[in-house]
Every structure is written in structure tokens, then in C-alpha cells.
């Protein structure tokens, strides 16, 4: 629960502090999308090599594949719309939170690593979903960018459910 609060705050508090739903622009949203995916790719790469449970390993690899696919689509759309993703406090907070998570995971091994990775994935996907629903979708002004967010949202829900299912088997 504490982990969830920390991750949620990292995503939401800074979305609120740095750019409210009214003031956030498409260039910043594009940057947040790409950063949020990259953070999960980094953690997934670590899990794919360090996890001991085969399901956790497979999940880590899938996070790399899925979020890389979403990022390619986001980058293609940004290029087509001639939007240059703009760095912003939310992206910076996501990146810092991701780096901290990776550093913590690197200090763990075996079952401890698996549990910490999956727990964080659950909290992270929940927090990103909240940001997508409360800030990014309402804030997107370009219809195609909004459409992309709406279309990839179910993937985050599926990842969250998948991670919860794995978590229930780790205890």
C-alpha cells in the first residue's frame, strides 16, 4: 500500500504540480507517454534477465515487447503530427522513480526480486492508468493523440490484471 502511495504520488502529484489537465499540452503528453513506457521497458529488461520465477521472467519480457510497440506507435504519431515531445516535471519524476526502482531491484535476488518487481508493476500500472484517465486523456487536444491513449489504455489494464494474477501465485 505504501509502495502504491509513493508511485501514485510520483505520477499524479507531479502531473498536478507541473501541469494541470487544463494547462498540459500535447508535446508534454507525448513526452510523458514515451517516458512512462520507457520506465516500464527498463524494469522489464531487468526482470527478463534477473527474475527466478519463469512467469515473472516472461512477464518482464512481455512488458519490453508491449511497451516498445506502444512507444513506436507514439513516436510515429508525434512525427506525423510534427509534435516534438517536450520534457516536463512529470516525465522527470517518472524517470527518477523508474531509476530508483531499478536500483532497488538490482540489490535483490531470487524470490525477493520477483515479488518486489511484480508489486511495483502493479502499483506503477495502476498509477499510470489513473494519470491516463484523470490527466492525459482529458488534457490531450489533438484527436489522434487522444485516440492513441484511449486505444492503449486496455493494454495497461491487461498488464495490471496479469501482474495481479502472478502476484497471487508468488505468496
Amino acid at each position: 500500500m505504501r509502495l502504491f502511495a509513493i508511485v501514485t504520488c510520483a505520477v499524479l502529484c507531479l502531473v498536478a504540480a507541473g501541469a494541470s489537465a487544463q494547462s498540459i499540452n500535447d508535446a508534454q503528453i507525448a513526452h510523458i507517454v514515451v517516458t512512462a513506457n520507457q520506465v516500464d521497458i527498463d524494469a522489464g529488461q531487468l526482470a527478463a534477465s534477473m527474475a527466478s520465477n519463469p512467469e515473472v521472467k516472461k512477464f518482464g519480457q512481455q512488458m519490453v515487447t508491449d511497451h516498445t510497440g506502444v512507444n513506436k506507435q507514439a513516436a510515429d504519431l508525434a512525427a506525423r503530427l510534427k509534435v516534438t515531445p517536450a520534457d516536463n516535471p512529470t516525465s522527470q519524476s517518472l524517470k527518477a522513480g523508474g531509476d530508483k526502482n531499478v536500483a532497488n531491484l538490482k540489490s535483490l535476488k531470487g524470490g525477493e526480486f520477483d515479488k518486489a518487481y511484480i508489486d511495483h508493476e502493479i502499483a506503477y500500472h495502476q498509477a499510470v492508468l489513473d494519470a491516463v484517465d484523470k490527466t492525459l486523456i482529458p488534457g490531450a487536444s489533438n484527436a489522434e493523440l487522444k485516440g492513441l491513449l484511449v486505444k492503449v489504455r486496455p493494454a495497461f489494464v491487461a498488464h495490471l490484471e496479469h501482474a495481479k494474477k502472478i502476484q497471487s501465485t508468488l505468496k
Partner: protein, 121 residues
């Protein structure tokens, strides 16, 4: 007696020929003429982590094509078939061989569920 039989038989053959010709003409009208003898091809789109349509009814011998329009892989997996990973933009075809109800999932995304109903032709 044999001559009369032959005449009737050839008339029967001619009528059969006409019936078959009309039947195949109706069959050529496309998927709308589903009652025709030709197997049809149905498409299930995989997009936004969902199968569309979620429930599909086909006849034995029909082909079902799953098309992945998401930017990451999906599978269509049931007790009777398994596509394995379908890459973004790729597709996979299954031909229904026996009647029955086949619930299926994407093994990569547990929230993604569909049903294929196969009925007799």
C-alpha cells in the same frame, strides 16, 4: 418401359443441372448467401486489447482469420487451436473442423477473451 425411364431420368438430370447452376450462382453472391455450399472466410480484429467481434458464429469448413491491429503481439488460444504469437500487422487463420463452442483467450493479455461458435453446415 426402359425408354420412358431414360427420358424421365434425363429430365431429372437437366433439372438437377439447373438447380446446381442456380445454387452456385447464389453461392457466388458472397458471404450474405451463407446457406450456400461454399465455405466462408470470417475476420476477427484484435485491437485495443479486444477481439472484435467478441462472439463469432461460423459453419464447419469456414475459415476464421485473426488480424492483429495492435502495436504488440497477441494470441488466439483455445482447447482446439493455438495461434501462438501473432505479430503486429500479421494475421493467423484457423479452419473450423467440428461443431462446438470454443472459448478462447490471448495468453499474453488475460483480459482479452472471445468465443468461436461452430455450427453444422
Amino acid at each position: 418401359m426402359p425408354r420412358r425411364f431414360n427420358r424421365r431420368s434425363s429430365r431429372h438430370a437437366a433439372l438437377t443441372f439447373v438447380a446446381v447452376a442456380v445454387g452456385s450462382w447464389l453461392g457466388s453472391l458472397g458471404p450474405g448467401a451463407a446457406e450456400g455450399p461454399r465455405p466462408a472466410t470470417h475476420t476477427v480484429v484484435m485491437e485495443a486489447v479486444a477481439f472484435q467481434p467478441g462472439v463469432l458464429t461460423v459453419k464447419v469448413g469456414d475459415a476464421v482469420v485473426w488480424v492483429n491491429r495492435d502495436p504488440f503481439p497477441h494470441t488466439a488460444t483455445s482447447a482446439k487451436f493455438d495461434s501462438k504469437d501473432i505479430a503486429p500487422g500479421a494475421s493467423w487463420t484457423f479452419t473450423a473442423k467440428a461443431p462446438g463452442e470454443l472459448p478462447y483467450v490471448c495468453t499474453l493479455h488475460p483480459t482479452m477473451k472471445g468465443t468461436l461458435r461452430v455450427t453444422t453446415r
